[in-house]
Assembly symmetry: C2
DNA sequence: TTGAAAGCGATACCAG
DNA sequence: CTGGTATCGCTTTCAA
């Protein structure tokens, strides 16, 4: 059924060892032999069993990607970048969606541990302690979160928030509401931190409208709270929430940006397609994916002394959902 | 470093075989022994190496998912459903994005073959012949395409088109344009076929506006052709293209649905969030993913005589982008 | 009920 | 430059 190295060896009339070498280190073998082996392999349609190989080499050629929700358009973008970069290094990708369930993360990681050379944890929801338990067990790079001792790739949320707040301030806004995402999300805390210091710097009021699910429905659910607050502008944890706000605002006849300005975070595809366009803080999603793979490869190659931390830039994208304050 | 079955055996004071049995067939072993093994395994944090196991059992516990473009929101939805269903059966998922490159598919499949028990090919772009070469090599279920001899899961595009055309006809439209997707896409041909017969049944004119990329940009690129045609309504291969049309129409001041009605296909999240809402043919994406995994598990369990074909229903979702004909 | 030993497919080392 | 052999971690006969 399945063709193994033995079959190739037999057909080529050489030993297994030679087949192995001819295929892996072509120059350590006589050209004639190499040719015979290559022909035999081609004829039989031989492809090495990477699982068997990993047993002896200790390398699987796979990386594991764990993320909370593929339905959030932010993640597919990142995963796509990861895929592209991984393929360049001849790595295949295991994908696990935890469905925003923190309890699923650790078992999933464990189940994959022996099958991958390292992990990319995107916005992991598990506790610091649970994750730290993996230190030394498997190379791990964390995205959108910082946990010592793992290398991390994050976006410069503070700077993004600074840009967003400066923009709103320039438009005349003085009272901003923030719709927070999941409490378990490091990004959420990071963004909130940046927002607090940015509003403080401008001496503006920050009204925290509470946490909600990072989905359209999550935004819709808290829209009325925002309207009832004295805020003239609202910044959402992410674009999906912002679009949920849009929805409910439209349903209630609340004009954006005339009555209230809205800013999102992530710059997912949707942001540019709704009307009015959603002003948002763009994150370099492709760069995040790429950087993460690079860091992982590095940390697999050699134990790093101090974990690398890559912080990628953010950029405010101004669209129609923000405008001057009307009184 | 990594804890193996030997370590457990040593700590429990039994043989490897007993450890294996205690963990796999708990009832074939004396309760006392089982207890000792379980404790030892827990204490050491033992998790079997699935790659090593696959070597002997022939089962990997993995399934491979290949798709053309994770950036198309349709696919993440399907993948998420696949994940959920796969996890239920204790399968892990390998994901490969081919970036719409037909040439990448076959090598990717081959590279994964030994590491997975079967494949889910989503909207594969490779030729029938290339794919047929895998028949008998690995269990394969094809999504959004039909290729003998593989089981397939498809949407009832013909019925979806029938609903869309009937809707437009009722609104008074008589000339419909179709913006086609990739020539290599089976879905595209399937949808076109359905559309042709539906328009013929209503004695309506069908203007084929040519093929374009299944992306927002693809839609934007052909929008002017559609406007220049005598069509009063346009059906796009998918929602992304439809949204690209929206964009360009808005830029040119062409009113939707007053000047032209627009219908998409897939019902991605975006469709409900743009203004006006995009009328579209919804596909049961979760069901597709679920059904695909089910079929794959079945076909792995036993060679089926005739490949199963699951055709899932489609449903027209009417939103603001379609309206009565104005003259 | 348990242990010893063979073997899955590939690589790596050591002789020759 | 090539072949024999041990080995990776695990499962599975086969005897005891």
């Amino acid at each position: 059924m399945t063709v193994t190295i033995k079959d190739v060896a037999r057909l080529a009339g050489v030993s297994q060892s030679s087949v192995c070498r001819a295929l892996a280190n072509p120059d350590q073998v006589r050209p004639e032999t190499r040719e015979r082996v290559e022909t035999a392999a081609r004829d039989l349609g031989y492809y090495p069993n990477r699982a068997a190989r990993s047993l002896i080499t200790g390398r699987t050629g796979n990386i594991g990607v764990v993320l909370p929700d593929l339905a959030n358009p932010f993640f597919p973008s990142v995963v796509k970048a990861i895929q592209t970069q991984a393929r360049r290094a001849d790595y295949a990708v295991f994908l696990s969606d935890t469905d925003e369930d923190p309890a699923l993360e650790v078992p999933l990681i464990r189940a994959l541990t022996k099958q991958v050379d390292g992990f990319l944890l995107c916005s992991p929801r598990a506790s610091d302690d649970e994750l730290k338990a993996f230190a030394g067990q498997a190379p791990i790079v964390v995205l959108n979160r910082r946990i010592t001792p793992f290398p991390s790739v994050t976006a410069d949320s503070a700077d993004g928030m600074r840009q967003a707040v400066a923009h709103l301030h320039a438009l005349g806004h003085r009272r901003i509401a923030y719709v927070a995402g999941p409490r378990t999300s490091w990004s959420n805390r990071d963004r909130l931190r940046g927002l607090r210091s940015a509003t403080a710097a401008h001496d503006m009021d920050l009204i925290e409208a509470g946490n909600t699910a990072p989905t359209v429905e999550g935004g819709t659910a808290v829209a009325d709270l925002v309207v009832a607050s004295p805020a003239t502008a609202v910044i959402a944890y992410n674009d999906l929430i912002a679009l949920g706000l849009f929805n409910r605002f439209a349903a209630r006849g609340i004009a954006v940006p005339e009555r209230i300005s809205v800013i999102g975070f992530d710059d997912i595809l949707l942001a540019g397609l709704v009307h009015p366009g959603l002003t948002t803080v763009a994150i370099a999603k492709e760069q995040i994916g790429r950087a993460a793979v690079e860091l992982l490869l590095e940390s697999m190659a050699a134990e790093q002394e101090r974990p690398a931390r890559r912080v990628l830039p953010t950029q405010l994208i101004v669209r129609g959902s923000t405008g001057p304050l009307h009184d």
